[in-house]
C-alpha cells in the first residue's frame, strides 16, 4: 500500500504509459500501415510493376494549396487512404453468424500481437528509464504464452462465421499454429541455454557483452566456444524464423487464408474495420515476431562500438556525446533491424508458393520439431564440453 502512494509508483506508471503510447501509437501502428504499403510496393517491384505510387496527402482539399503532397517515392498517403476506406465501409454482419464470437474474434486477433510487444526491449535507456514496457524476468515465456492466444481469434472467426470456407481456414490455422508453436518454443531454448536467462533485456545484455548470437564476434573477442556455438545458434535461427513465418500465417504458410482455395479463409465473412483488425493483427504479429528474432539472435538494440543510453560501453571517444542521443540511436537501430526483417518477410512471401497441407504438417512435425530438439542437445553438449 505504501508503494501505491509513493512517488516511485507514479513515476513507474507515468513512464510505462509514455512508453506504451510511444511504442504502440508512434512506432508500431504507423509501422504496420507502412508495412502494408511496403508489401504492395515490394511485391510490385518483384513482379516488374510499380505499385501504388499516386496517393499523396490531399493538401489540395485545404484552401491555399494547389497540389497534393506526395514526397519522394509517391504513394506515401496510401495507408491513410486505406484507413479511411476501411473506416467508411459498411460493417456488415451476416444473419447466420454467431454474433458474440463474431465480434470477439477480430479483437482476439489484434490484441495478443499488441500485448506481446510489452516484453520487447526496444531500446537501452533514455534518462535512466529502461526502454521496455514490462521488464519481467519470464519475458520469452510471456511472448510465447500471449502469442499463442492469437490462434483463438482465427479459430473463433472461422467457427462463428458459420460458413464452409472460414471453417476450413479456422481448422487449418488451429492445427498449423499449434504444431509450429512447439517448434518455435524449442528453437528458442538454445538461446536460453547460452544466455542462461529468459528475461529479454538480459538476453540483449548478454549479447552486448559477448557479441550477437548470430554474429558472435561483434564484441571483438575471438573464442573457440563461440565459434562452436555458432552452429547450433544458426540452426536455431533458421528453424525459429521458419516457425515464425508459420505462426504469423505468412506465405509459404498462409493456409488459413489461402485465397486461391478458401476465398479469404477465416475472414471471408468479415468486412470493414473488423476485417481491418485481422489484417492489422497479422502485420502486428509480424512486427512482434521480427522484434523477437532481433532480440534473440541479432543483438536487440545494440550496434557494435556504439555506447548504450547510460553513456557506457562502446568506443570511449563517443562518450563525449550525451547518453540520451545514444539511447535514441539504439531505438532507431532496433526498429531498423525489425524493418530489415520485415523486408525479408515480404521478400519471401513474393518468392515462394504455398505448401500443400500434408507438406506443411510433415515439415512442422518431422523436421522443424526434430531439428530443434536435437539442436538443444547439441547446444547443451557444446556448452558442457567447452566450459
Amino acid at each position: 500500500m505504501d508503494f501505491l502512494t509513493s512517488p516511485d509508483f507514479w513515476f513507474l506508471t507515468g513512464t510505462s504509459l509514455a512508453k506504451t503510447i510511444f511504442l504502440i501509437f508512434l512506432v508500431v501502428l504507423p509501422m504496420v500501415s507502412y508495412t502494408v504499403y511496403a508489401e504492395r510496393r515490394v511485391s510490385a517491384l518483384i513482379q516488374d510493376r510499380l505499385g501504388p505510387n499516386r496517393t499523396g496527402f490531399p493538401l489540395s482539399l485545404i484552401p491555399g494549396f494547389k497540389k497534393d503532397f506526395s514526397p519522394f517515392l509517391g504513394g506515401l498517403g496510401q495507408p491513410v487512404a486505406d484507413a479511411v476506406k476501411f473506416l467508411l465501409k459498411e460493417d456488415f454482419v451476416p444473419a447466420h453468424v454467431n454474433k458474440l464470437y463474431f465480434w470477439l474474434a477480430p479483437t482476439l486477433a489484434m490484441m495478443p500481437a499488441l500485448v506481446t510487444l510489452a516484453a520487447i526491449p526496444f531500446g537501452s535507456t533514455i534518462l535512466g528509464v529502461p526502454m521496455v514496457v514490462a521488464n519481467i524476468n519470464v519475458g520469452l515465456l510471456f511472448m510465447f504464452a500471449i502469442s499463442s492466444v492469437g490462434v483463438y481469434g482465427i479459430v473463433l472467426a472461422g467457427w462463428s462465421s458459420n460458413s464452409k470456407y472460414p471453417f476450413l481456414g479456422g481448422i487449418r490455422s488451429s492445427s498449423q499454429m499449434i504444431s509450429y508453436e512447439l517448434g518455435m518454443g524449442l528453437s528458442a531454448v538454445p538461446v536460453l541455454l547460452i544466455a542462461s536467462t529468459t528475461s529479454l533485456p538480459n538476453i540483449v545484455e548478454y549479447q552486448i557483452q559477448n557479441g550477437w548470437l548470430l554474429l558472435p564476434f561483434t564484441n571483438g573477442v575471438f573464442s573457440i566456444q563461440k565459434l562452436l556455438l555458432w552452429i547450433p545458434v544458426f540452426i536455431a535461427f533458421v528453424t525459429f524464423t521458419i516457425a515464425m513465418f508459420a505462426e504469423t500465417n505468412r506465405l509459404p504458410f498462409d493456409l488459413p487464408e489461402s485465397e486461391t482455395e478458401l476465398v479469404a479463409g477465416y475472414h471471408t465473412e468479415y468486412s470493414s474495420m473488423k476485417f481491418a483488425l485481422f489484417f492489422l493483427g497479422e502485420y502486428t504479429a509480424m512486427i512482434a515476431g521480427s522484434a523477437l528474432i532481433v532480440v534473440l539472435f541479432l543483438g536487440g538494440y545494440h550496434i557494435p562500438f556504439i555506447p548504450n543510453g547510460d553513456g557506457k560501453g562502446g568506443l570511449s571517444f563517443l562518450h563525449v556525446i550525451p547518453g540520451t542521443v545514444w539511447g535514441i540511436v539504439n531505438i532507431t537501430a532496433f526498429f531498423a533491424k525489425v524493418a530489415a526483417l520485415l523486408f525479408v518477410f515480404i521478400w519471401v512471401r513474393w518468392t515462394l508458393p504455398r505448401f500443400r497441407y500434408d507438406q506443411l504438417m510433415k515439415l512442422g512435425w518431422l523436421y522443424i520439431f526434430e531439428i530443434a530438439l536435437a539442436n538443444i542437445f547439441l547446444t547443451a553438449g557444446i556448452l558442457a564440453f567447452t566450459k
Binding site: 515490394v42 517491384l45 518483384i46 513482379q47 516488374d48 510493376r49 510499380l50 521478400w347 519471401v348 513474393w350 518468392t351 515462394l352
Partner: protein
C-alpha cells in the same frame, strides 16, 4: 491396367528445399534490383506521359469540322454524314446562307451540327463520305465530360477542335 507414374528421384539437395529457396530469393531480388536501377521497362505513366508523339498518321480520334483558309465553313449541310453514321450520332439542322454573305454562292451551311460523343464509334465513315472534305477524324482520344449534355459536341466545339485545313478541294473558291 494401371499406369504407374514414375516419381522423380530427388537428390538430397532438392529434398531439403533450402538451396532452391535461396535460388528463388536471388531471382526475385534480381527483379527488385533491375526495377530500382531502371533496367526494367514498365508501363507508361499515363497522364504525365502520353503516346501522342508515336500516334500513327491514320489514327481515328474524335470527328471534327474544319474551315478553309478563307474562314469559310467547309460543311455545306448535305447531311450525307448524318445518313451514313452507323450509330446515328450526328444531327444536322441546315440553313440557307444569307445573300449578303460573301459565301452566298455556297447556298447552304449547318445551323446546328451536333455529334453525340457517347454514341460515336470512331468508324470514320463520316470523313469518308463527306464530298466537301469538311469533317475529319483528328487525334483527340480523351473525350470526357461530367454530363451527357457535355458529351454532345456542338458546332462551336467541333470547329474549335477541327481548326483550319488548307489546300483541299477548291470548288467554292472564286479565284480558282
Amino acid at each position: 491396367m494401371a499406369y504407374v507414374v514414375p516419381r522423380p528421384n530427388l537428390t538430397w539437395k532438392e529434398k531439403i528445399y533450402l538451396p532452391s529457396i535461396v535460388a528463388g530469393l536471388a531471382i526475385t531480388f534480381k527483379h527488385i534490383r533491375r526495377m530500382l536501377s531502371g533496367q526494367t521497362k514498365v508501363v507508361m505513366q499515363y497522364p504525365e506521359e502520353k503516346w501522342d508523339a508515336s500516334m500513327p498518321e491514320h489514327y481515328r480520334g474524335a470527328p471534327t469540322l474544319v474551315k478553309d483558309e478563307h474562314d469559310r465553313e467547309r460543311c455545306v449541310a448535305c447531311q450525307l454524314c448524318e445518313f451514313i453514321c452507323p450509330p446515328r450520332a450526328i444531327t444536322i439542322i441546315p440553313e440557307e446562307i444569307p445573300a449578303e454573305s460573301k459565301f452566298a454562292k455556297v447556298e447552304k451551311r449547318p445551323k446546328e451540327f451536333e455529334i453525340d460523343m457517347i454514341r460515336c464509334i470512331y468508324c470514320g465513315l463520316c470523313e469518308e463520305v463527306c464530298p466537301e472534305q469538311a469533317i475529319y477524324l483528328r487525334k483527340d482520344y480523351a473525350i470526357t465530360g461530367l454530363s451527357r449534355a457535355e458529351m454532345k459536341h456542338d458546332k462551336a466545339k467541333l470547329y474549335e477542335l477541327g481548326g483550319v485545313m488548307e489546300g483541299l478541294v477548291h470548288k467554292w473558291n472564286p479565284k480558282k
